[in-house]
Amino acid sequence: MKVTIDGFPIEVEAGTTILNAARMIGGDIVPPAMCYYSKLEGSGGKCRTCLVKVSKGSEKDPRPMPKLVASCRTTVMDGMEVQNITSPEVIEARKGVVEMLLINHPLDCPVCDQAGECHLQDLGYEHGAAKTRYEFDRRTFERIDIGDKIQLHMTRCILCYRCVFVADQITDHRIHGILNRGDHSEISTYITKAVDNDFSGNVIDVCPVGALTDRTFRFKNRVWFTKPVEAHRDCHTEGCGGKVTLWYKGEDVLRVTARKDEYGEAEEFICNTCRFDKKKTSDWVIEGPRKVSHKSVISSNHYDTLKPLPVVKTNPVLMEANKEQFERETRL
C-alpha cells in the first residue's frame, strides 16, 4: 500500500498504522506517541498526541477524514495522504493536548529522575507554551512504594496505561490498574499489594514520564552524567533475552535498563534479576558504548567520531520550491 506522509511517499504492508509508516520514513514527520508502545498489544489511541490529518482517505475514496485521527491506531489505505507537521490544525491540536497533559503533570524536571529521558519533556519543548492558562490547584499525591524496587509518583502520571498493559501482557498476574474515572483516575495497586513479579521492573521502562521510577537508581545521578553501555548476559529466566543497557558512573553500574530503540521503546523486555540484581561489570558481556541521538541531552559530554553527513532524502515538493526560489532570486 502506498501512503504519503507530509509529502514523503512510502510503500507499506496492509495493516500498517500511519504512525509506523511514518516511523519507516523517519525524521521530523514521525508523530509523537506518549501512550502507544509497539511491543504492547492494544496500546495507543489514548493520549491523542499522535493526532494527524488524513487529507485523502484512499485512492478508492479520496474524501478527507472529517476529524483528526490517532495515527497509532489508524491503519493506512492505498493512496492515503496524511499531514502531520505540515498541517496547522494538527500542530494546534497537539499544542492543546500538551497543555492538557501539563495541567496535572508538575514541571519538576530538576528533581525528576526521568529528566533527560522524558517524552513529555520533549513534547513540551516542541509544542508547549511558555506559560499555562490553568489557574486551579493541581492534583497532589503522596509517593507510594509499590514493592521494594519501584516508586510511584502519581502526580506525574499521565494515565497512558502502558504499565497496565505491561502487567497484563508480560507478567503472570496484574495487581495494579487504574482506579476512578475522569481526572480523578489514578494508578493504584490492589489493596496492600506490592508489584513484585519477575518482570515488574518493565513498568519503569515503559512509563513515558517519571511516574514510575527505579528505587535503586533514584537520586543517584542525572542521566546525562552517566555513560550508557550496551551489554548482555546469558539469562535463564524464561522470556528474558538478557540484552540491556548499563548506565555507568565511573566504574559503578548505577542502573540497568532494557535496550531501547530510537522511539524509546524496549527492544526486548528484561527480567528483574537482570535489572536489579546484576550490577557488577563482571556479570555482563560488554558490547560497547550505546549510540545516543545527538538531540538527546544524554549525548552531552559523550564524544564520538565525526559521522558522515546523512543522506539527503529526495523531496519533490521541497526541490520544486527550491527551484522556484532560485529562479525568483536569479530574476531579481
Partner: protein, 454 residues
C-alpha cells in the same frame, strides 16, 4: 389529535402484562416476521421505513443492520442500549416502565433480522424498577413461547437477557457499553473496528436504542412504506420527546417528526407553553449534549421559516444558529433561568462522567467545569469566556468517543448565544454570588415576544 404509534396503548390498564398487551395486537410483528418474512425482508422493511437511530446520532437503522458482518460459524448479537442517562432525556425509561412488551417484541423481531441467537438489554444500573419490569416481561414472553427454543414452531431460537449497567454515563456509548457488558471497565473502544465487525466478545454486534427497537414493531406491522409516510423528508416516523424544564406540561410526548416547534411548545396537546406565564428564554432541543439555542433562533430557521421538530430543520444553520435532535431531551428555560448556572451544571456532569482514558476529555472537562464554577460564583474574569471557547475547541473532535464533543458543545454554544450573561456575572460578582439577580440586569437578555413566537 396527533397519532400515537409507540404509545398507542400506553393508557390501557395492565398493558405492561403479556395478556393485555397480546389482546391489543401485541406480538403480531413477531408472528408476521418469523412466519412470513425472511431476515433480509425484515431488514429491507426497516430500510424502507427510513427509521433513524433514536439514541442521538440519527444514523439510519436499516443501513446499520445491513453493515453487520455475517461470517460463517460466528455468533451475532443484538444489544439494546437502555443506558439512558443524558440530562433531560427520560423517554426510554418511560417506554420500558409502561409498555415493556413493546421493547421485548422489537428485540425478537430485530434479533431475527440480524440472525442473533442471544440478545441483551443493557439497562442503566440505577433503573432497578425497570430492570425488574423487563425481567418479568421476558419471563412472560418465554412462558408463552415467544422466547427460548423454537419460537412459535418456526425453528428460530432466541435467549434474551437483561444486564444492569455500570451506572456511568459513558456506558451508554456503544463500545463502552460492550466493554461493560463483557464485565470490564466501561471505557470506550477505539474505532475501527466498529461493532458491526467486532463487537460483543469480538463478534459482529448491532447496538440500538430502546426507542429504535420499539419502532421496529409498527414498521413490521404496517410495512416500512407506511411508516415512511409519517414525518418529513429524511426524518420519518414518530419520535418520543421527553419534555422538561419550565413547561406547563412536562412529560413524554410522541410526535410526528416535522411538527412545528411552536406547536410542540405552545399547544395544549403537547407542552402547553411556558409555566407560570413566563417567557421562553432558551431551549435545549435534544438532551444536554446538544447546543443550546435562544428562543428567537430556536423558532426560526436561517431562512426565517418556522423551525420543525425534525433532524434537518433543527440542524439548520449548523452550530452557528442551529442545534440537533439528539436523543429528544427537550429542555425549555424561562426568563428567570441563569444560563451560566445551567452551563456549569452541564459541565459538572460531563466532568464527573468522563471516563478519563483520553487526555483532552479527562483534563479539559474538569478545566471547563472549574472556570464555569468561578464564573457562576462571582470570581470570573472577562478572559474566561475566550478561554472556555478555546478549551472546548481543543476537546471537540480530538477525543476517543463523542463524550468530548458532548461536553464541549453546550459550553461553546452557551457563550456564543449568551455571552452578555456570562459577562454580567463578571461585572456583577456580588449579585452573581448571592444569586440576587433577574432578567433586568442583563444587557440584552431576551428576544421580543413576537420573535419567540408566543
Amino acid at each position: 389529535m396527533a397519532r400515537k404509534i409507540l404509545l398507542e396503548h400506553i393508557n390501557v390498564p395492565g398493558i405492561n402484562t403479556f395478556d393485555v398487551y397480546r389482546s391489543k395486537g401485541g406480538y403480531a410483528a413477531v408472528e408476521k416476521a418469523l412466519k412470513t418474512l425472511s431476515p433480509d425482508d425484515v431488514v429491507e422493511e426497516v430500510k424502507k421505513s427510513g427509521l433513524r437511530g433514536r439514541g442521538g446520532a440519527g444514523f439510519p437503522t436499516g443501513m446499520k443492520w445491513s453493515f453487520l458482518a455475517k461470517p460463517e460459524g460466528v455468533a451475532r448479537y443484538l444489544v439494546c442500549n437502555a443506558d439512558e442517562s443524558e440530562p433531560g432525556t427520560f423517554k426510554d425509561r418511560y417506554l420500558m416502565t409502561y409498555i415493556p412488551h413493546l421493547l421485548i417484541e422489537g428485540m425478537i423481531v430485530a434479533s431475527y433480522a440480524l440472525g442473533a441467537k442471544t440478545s441483551y438489554i443493557y439497562v442503566r444500573g440505577e433503573m432497578m424498577p425497570q430492570i425488574r419490569i423487563l425481567e418479568k416481561a421476558i419471563a412472560e414472553a418465554k412462558n408463552k413461547g415467544f422466547l427460548g427454543k423454537n419460537i412459535l414452531g418456526t425453528g428460530y431460537d432466541l435467549e434474551l437477557y437483561v444486564q444492569p449497567g455500570g451506572g456511568a454515563y459513558i456506558c451508554g456509548e456503544e463500545t463502552a457499553l460492550l466493554e461493560s457488558l463483557e464485565g470490564k471497565r466501561g471505557n470506550p473502544r477505539i474505532k475501527p473496528p466498529f461493532p458491526a465487525i467486532a463487537g460483543l466478545y469480538g463478534c459482529p454486534t448491532v447496538v440500538n436504542n430502546v426507542e429504535s427497537i420499539a419502532a421496529v414493531v409498527p414498521i413490521i406491522n404496517e410495512g416500512g412504506d407506511e411508516y415512511a409516510k409519517i414525518g418529513i423528508g429524511r426524518s420519518t416516523g414518530t419520535k418520543l420527546i421527553s419534555a422538561g424544564g419550565n413547561l406547563r406540561k412536562p412529560g413524554v410526548y410522541e410526535i410526528d417528526l416535522g411538527l412545528p416547534v411552536e406547536e410542540f411548545l405552545y399547544s395544549d396537546e403537547y407542552c402547553g407553553g411556558i409555566a407560570n406565564g413566563k417567557r421562553l428564554k432558551a431551549v435545549v432541543a435534544g438532551g444536554s449534549s446538544v447546543p443550546i439555542l435562544p428562543a428567537n433562533l430556536f423558532m426560526k430557521t436561517v431562512n426565517n421559516e418556522p423551525r420543525l421538530m425534525s433532524y434537518e430543520s433543527l440542524a439548520d444553520g449548523g452550530f452557528v444558529s442551529g442545534t440537533m435532535m439528539g436523543s429528544g431531551g427537550f429542555i425549555a428555560y424561562d426568563e428567570d433561568q441563569c444560563i451560566v448556572r445551567n452551563t456549569w451544571n452541564f459541565a459538572r456532569f460531563y466532568h464527573h462522567e468522563s471516563c478519563g482514558q483520553c487526555s483532552p476529555c479527562r483534563e479539559g472537562t474538569g478545566w471547563m467545569e472549574k472556570v464555569l464554577h468561578r464564573l457562576e460564583y462571582g470570581h470570573g474574569k472577562m478572559s474566561d469566556m475566550d478561554l472556555l471557547v478555546d478549551v472546548s475547541k481543543k476537546i471537540e473532535g480530538n477525543t476517543i468517543c463523542p463524550l468530548g464533543d458532548a461536553a464541549a458543545w453546550p459550553v461553546a454554544s452557551a457563550i456564543r448565544h449568551f455571552r452578555d450573561e456570562f459577562e454580567w456575572h463578571v461585572t456583577h460578582p456580588h449579585e452573581a454570588t448571592t444569586r440576587n439577580f433577574g432578567i433586568a440586569h442583563y444587557a440584552d437578555p431576551l428576544p421580543k415576544l413576537e420573535e419567540a413566537g408566543s
